[in-house]
Structures are given as structure tokens and as C-alpha cells.
Amino acid sequence: MSRFLKLALLASTMASPLAAEPLGLGRTATPEEVSVWDIDVRPDGLGLPEGSGDVMTGDGIYTEKCSACHGVFGEGTGRWPVLAGGQGSLSNARPVKTIGSYWPYLSTVYDYINRAMPFGDAQSLTDDEVYAITAYLLYLNNEVDEDFVLSSDNFNEARLPNEDGFKPDDREEVEFAAFKEEPCMTDCKPSVEITMRAAVLDVTPEETAAKEAAAKAEAETAAPATEEAASEATTTEEAPAPEAAPEAAPVEVAEAPAADPALIKAGEKAFRKCKSCHQIGAKAKNRVGPVLNGIVDGPAGAVEGFRYSKALEAAAEDGLVWSHDALTSFLGDPKGYMKGTKMSFPGVRKEEDIEALIAYLRDASE
């Protein structure tokens, strides 16, 4: 080492603020103080408090404190986050990223509810309430049954479906070779065409020239244009695009079987999700959704006094009958089967549940 280098090193050591010895600043945090702020929970269970909560209790708390933004079924209202559904949609053109379809760890759900929810009243829930809401979110995602109880004892057994759907950052291996080539500077291509224009979509806010011009020129069609633009628009991380429901998967089901008491009983259980909006039986009344008496094999849009969506009215005019097959498709993916339906329910995931529901609807109408 040259004398100059040694001197330079010495100088840099002296000038460096990186003291190896502690300065003795601050004071020791007491265990009580740490426990007030150290609320984080990790996938391995670190930080998880003792406690438990069941689905039905969670339903009550969720309805009161969460559903205004996240929707009765976790479908999300407006642009608030969707919490349920979307399973199998991650490679679609419009993936729906929910707890059931995307989140890798249940600990994240617990941790986030506990630290940041309800929105505007963070850290107001008890441990048992957080367990209950977490259990209910598993239920909304069809991961557990309605009698499920989540607790500090069984928490680590619960797994979310997309746990293995992540990989580490591999940009260096996958992208760098191609993105480190010396680029072309002259005669790089024979010609250039414009393939897309932002002005066509016109979603830029405020008083830009494009917006003003469009507003004047297309005053009559302004409303529908805006609506379409919003659904076309790619969104930030907090804003899933509307109409993001995956393509309807056609479900092939055989003719309705004869009444099967076990199936009807299973259907009655599955109907509990529907009860938030629908009634069936002699005393049934229209609520958020129409009365369902006679729905199976009955004409669509036929319940008196209920205001259907335009989409359903149009389908009724075209003679839609709620046949076994039609109901199966609709219940599996309401928005995919009927774009514009008012039914915000994201759909029944299991075919056997749909089968049971139809059996129950048939039976309870009688």
C-alpha cells in the first residue's frame, strides 16, 4: 500500500461518522413499552396473540364495520378493495387479486386488519374480533365452512391457496442480458406508425386541452364515454378495474336430480350467504334482492314490485327462463353470465354447492 493510500484511508476513517462504539444515546425500552407498539404478526406465527373467533361472529362484525366499503360479500363497493373471489383469475386479462386468489399468507390478513382496519378507526378491534373477521374472510373465500373457528392454536394450519404463487425478484437473470445491449442509433427501423393515442381514451383529469375539446365536441356522448374509459383504464394498486369478473366458465351439469333430502339440506346451508339479500317461502318479501319463490324453471324478471337491472330486464324480454343450466351459470359467476346485473354476490365456487342451492330453491318454493 502506498503512503498516499494509507493516509487517505486514515483520513477517511477519521472523517467517517460511522462510529463502531455506541454513543449511549436514547434509553432502554421497557418490555411494557415494546408490547404497546410491537403488534406485527409474521407467517411463522411470531407476534400472534392468544385468542379465537368464529365465522358467524365475524359475519356480524364484518357487516357492521367492513361491508360499507368492502361489500356484503367482499366484492368491494366503488373502488374499495375486493376481498373475496377471483380464484383462478390471476393469468386472465383482468385478474382479481383477493385474499382467496392472491394473498400468500393468512398472517398478513390478521396483521393488516389489526394494524390498519377499520379504515379511520385503526387498532380499535380486540384480538378475538380480529380472529373472527379473519375467519369470516376465509369463509367468504370458500376456504372454510360456516362453523369454522380460527384461533391461535390452529392459525398456523390455515393456508391460503396462492402461497406458492410468488417468486423472488429475477429481473437480473431474466431481463438484464437483453436490457444491457448497446442500442441502435441510426437507421433503426424503416418507418414508424402511431398505434395508440391517450386522447382516444380521454381519462386525463382536469382542464387539459384534450379534455376540453372532447367535452365540447362530444357533449352528448360524454357520460358513456367516461364510463367506458374508467373500465378500460388500468388502475393503481388500490383500484381494481370495474367489471373485472373473470370470463364465465360454462358449467356442464346433468338434468336436475329428483329431490334428495341431503342435497336440500346442504342447499339450505349454502343459502345462508344468499339470505343477506333474498327471502324464500310463504312469508318472503323483496329485500335487496327479489323473492325467490318459483325461481327454478320460472321466467326471469317476473317478481312484482322489484326493480331489476336493465340487463336482467332485457334478458327477460328476450324470454330468459331460469332453467337449471341458466341458474347454474348465473350462480357460478353472476357478473360474467349477466354483465350489468345488480347482484353484487361474486358467485358460488363449488359446483356441488350450486347443485344443492338449486335443489333447495325448488324445495323451499313449494
Binding site: R79, W80, D111, R171, E175, T186, L201, P205, A233
Partner: protein, 419 residues
């Protein structure tokens, strides 16, 4: 001055009876009759405001349009939302504090610095609590760094959408931070050998939390309390925030209240459900922390059209990389058939914004403008289509593709994509 020019005005002055300026006789200069701006203006006669009328100075009222703007349809509620830095109207490299873009998850925390504490716990020899006064006694450093939200340009993955560089690229700012090397605080607490990760947590109602690998924490992270010489603005994390140079903005936890040392990452909401990059095959990349090299022309652009017609024109823009400096930016006027090296100007420091210029003679014909950054690691900013070919269109985050502005013969600019 030419003889022609010299003689012209005196004749004209005589004929019109006014002391008119030289006009219309020199090729290439705009002709004008008497310029009404050349007059005795009120501000030349009346007394202006005295000192202290505006004890904290604000920009000229004529600059009132130069402000942060949001895109309302992006988010459900302004309390959990984003706005954008007006980069179309700024120059140089430093972002003024008042227009640094904001991203909050539960609004701006109103923290009383006297009631603020920073706690270090977990796998450390000494669990510690610091007051702001304690923090001010650690040795400080000053560094300029850009902060870019991982979702910057995220609305453009499926194609050109927003007509303004403020909206397509404005989730970025670049200020000088004064702060304490995070390493010093960790050494004060004594990180145990199994301590490989750090959880940083904010004091806002979102309790914002991110896992940071210890290697980065000990490398160049800062606990910052000043920006551009003054206290952090409330919306930027007053009184103290984390600075994670070159890495996505979400990790720069604001209103920092706690650091926990652990042996593995926490996989919290902002590093699983959000800020993970979903690829076309349905698998998502996680822990994509570094911001790739990127550049954009800030003027001309849709909010900064060419208004002066043909002739000498200044093209300028910003370039940055989370991995180092930007030694070179290429610019094209014809959509990428021919490229020119831009002129870099101003300071060049790692993980900070760089300013480039390309001064050219505009012929008044339509232009297709692009810029392409080269960083000090040899990485060259890719096209959007090159990114899509690898990642698909559902990544949301880390869109560093080349931006195109189409300028028409009137000088108006539009966000487009080209073949």
C-alpha cells in the same frame, strides 16, 4: 446589428412618431409593432409589499397552475390516494418541497414531534427508545436521492392512457435529505447475528410496514428529518422518515415510529397483496425493490406544448436509476429511427435525478419524441413492448418503458404508442 436593422428603426420612428423597436427586418425573428409590454407598468410605479407580508414565501400567483394534481378515478378515497409532481413545469434536478408528490394510505399523520418516539426492538442487544432530541445528537449526513413510487407509470401498462407527464411519470421527487445513517442507530442497539431483516413501521393510521434486508439497512439507508434544508413536510413524514435510496418509494416509511430486527421477512400487506408484480402466467415477483433506469421528456409534453412555432427549441427531461448514475441519455425526434446523445447538465450523483437537454431547430413538422436512459451499470431503458414481452400487462409496478410524445404541427403533444 446589420446596417439594415440599424437604419430601419430611425425611419420607422420618424414615420410613426413612436419609438418603436426593431421589427420584421431581420430574417428569423418575429415581427411586432409596438409591444404593449414595453410601457410603464403598475409595478414600476407603485410600492410593493414589505417584508413579512409572506413570512413563508410562496410562488408567484402566475405560477398557481404549477401544483400537485390527482387523478380522482384511480382510488376510492383521497385519504388513501396519490397525487403527482408537476414535472412538466420544473427544471433542474431538485424538487421544491411543496410540490413533492404525496402518497398516503390513511391520510397525513399529524405528529407532534415532542410526543414522537422511535423504538428499536427485536433481535438487538439493547431495545432502545429515542426522542427527536436524541436523534439530533447522532452524526448527520446530506444526500440527494430520488423517491419514485413503484406504481409510477403503472396506468400505462396496457397502453397510453393519461395525457400529461405529470400523470404518467409524476410519482417521483428528488430532494436533499439530512439524516442519520440507519447503520448508526442499529449499531447503537447492537444487531444480533441472526438479525437479517428489519421491519420499518410508521406512526400513521395505516401503521405502514415494510421488511427491509439488513444488508440494505446497513448500506445507505438514512433516518431523515430534513428535506432541502427544512423540516420534512407533514405529508412527507414529519418529523422523521426512512430513506431507502434507489428502492421503491413505499419502503421509505414516513412518520417512522419503530424498527424491529428479525431473522426473516414479515410478508406484510404492502409486500404481498400490494407492491408485488403479477406476471402473465399468474405468478408474481416479490421483493422487487430496486427501481430500474428510466427517463422521460418533460418538455415538450402534453402539458408543455411548443407554443413558439418553428425554430430553436429546447427539449428537456429527467433520468434516473436505482442502481447508480445516468452517464448518458439518447433522444429521438422521429420515433426511434435516428437517435442523438442528449446533453447531461447539472449534478450527477447515484440514485438521484439527472437533467438532460437536447437543443434543436424545429422544422415545424410533427415529431415523435422519446428518450432512453443508460445507467452506470450498462442497463439501457427498454421499450414498453420489450417489458410487456417479459412481464405481460398486469404488473402495475415498475413500468420503466420508453415514453413517446407525438407533437403535431401546432406544437401540441399527446401521449401515444408507436410501432
Amino acid at each position: 446589428m446589420t446596417d439594415d436593422n440599424h437604419n430601419g428603426p430611425s425611419r420607422r420612428a420618424f414615420l410613426t412618431g413612436a419609438g418603436a423597436v426593431a421589427a420584421g427586418t431581420l430574417a428569423g425573428r418575429a415581427g411586432a409593432e409596438t409591444d404593449p409590454a414595453i410601457a410603464i407598468k403598475p409595478w414600476m410605479q407603485e410600492l410593493g409589499d414589505g417584508v413579512d407580508v409572506s413570512p413563508y414565501g410562496m410562488p408567484s400567483p402566475y405560477e398557481a397552475d404549477i401544483k400537485r394534481r390527482t387523478v380522482e378515478w384511480l382510488t376510492a378515497d383521497p385519504v388513501s390516494s396519490i397525487n403527482f409532481t408537476p414535472i412538466h413545469a420544473l427544471d433542474g434536478t431538485i424538487t421544491p418541497n411543496g410540490v413533492c408528490f404525496e402518497r398516503h394510505h390513511s391520510g397525513v399523520a399529524k405528529v407532534d414531534p415532542a410526543e414522537h418516539r422511535l423504538m428499536i426492538n427485536g433481535l438487538v442487544d439493547r431495545e432502545l427508545v429515542f426522542t427527536m432530541e436524541d436523534l439530533m445528537r447522532f452524526p448527520r449526513e446530506n444526500h440527494v436521492y430520488f423517491l419514485e413510487c413503484a406504481a409510477n407509470s403503472g396506468m400505462e401498462w396496457r397502453g397510453s392512457q393519461l395525457n400529461g407527464v405529470q400523470f404518467t411519470h409524476g410519482m417521483i421527487h428528488n430532494v436533499q435529505y439530512t439524516g442519520i445513517p440507519l447503520r448508526l442507530l442499529l449499531e447503537e442497539a447492537g444487531v444480533q447475528t441472526e438479525g437479517k431483516w428489519l421491519l420499518a413501521e410508521g406512526a400513521d393510521a395505516a401503521g405502514m410496514s415494510r421488511s427491509i434486508p439488513m444488508e440494505k439497512a446497513l448500506d445507505d439507508c438514512l433516518i431523515a428529518f430534513k428535506m432541502n434544508g427544512e423540516a420534512l413536510r407533514p405529508e412527507q413524514g414529519y418529523p422523521v422518515r426512512l430513506v431507502v435510496p434507489g428502492w421503491e418509494g413505499n419502503m421509505w416509511v414516513k412518520w417512522l415510529r419503530r424498527l424491529e430486527v428479525g431473522d426473516q421477512p414479515w410478508h406484510h400487506r404492502e409486500e404481498t397483496s400490494k407492491y408485488t408484480d403479477l406476471l402473465a402466467d399468474g405468478v408474481a415477483r416479490r421483493f422487487t425493490w430496486e427501481m430500474d433506469a428510466k427517463s422521460v421528456i418533460t418538455s415538450p409534453s402534453p402539458q408543455a406544448p411548443i407554443t413558439h412555432g418553428a425554430g430553436p427549441t429546447v427539449l428537456t427531461g429527467l433520468a434516473w436509476s436505482g442502481r447508480g448514475t445516468i452517464p448518458r441519455v439518447d433522444v429521438t425526434l422521429d420515433g426511434g429511427i435516428t437517435w442523438h446523445e442528449a446533453r447531461m447538465d447539472g449534478p450527477s450523483t447515484p440514485k438521484a435525478l439527472h437533467r438532460f437537454y437536447y437543443d434543436f431547430e424545429w422544422d415545424g413538422k410533427p415529431l415523435l419524441l422519446q428518450s432512453r436512459a443508460h445507467d452506470s451499470t450498462g442497463y439501457v431503458q427498454p421499450t414498453k413492448n420489450a417489458l410487456r414481452a417479459i412481464r405481460g400487462e398486469n404488473s402495475i409496478y415498475h413500468n420503466n418503458g420508453i415514453q413517446t410524445w407525438a407533437v403535431d404541427a401546432d406544437g401540441k403533444a399527446e401521449n401515444v404508442e408507436i410501432s
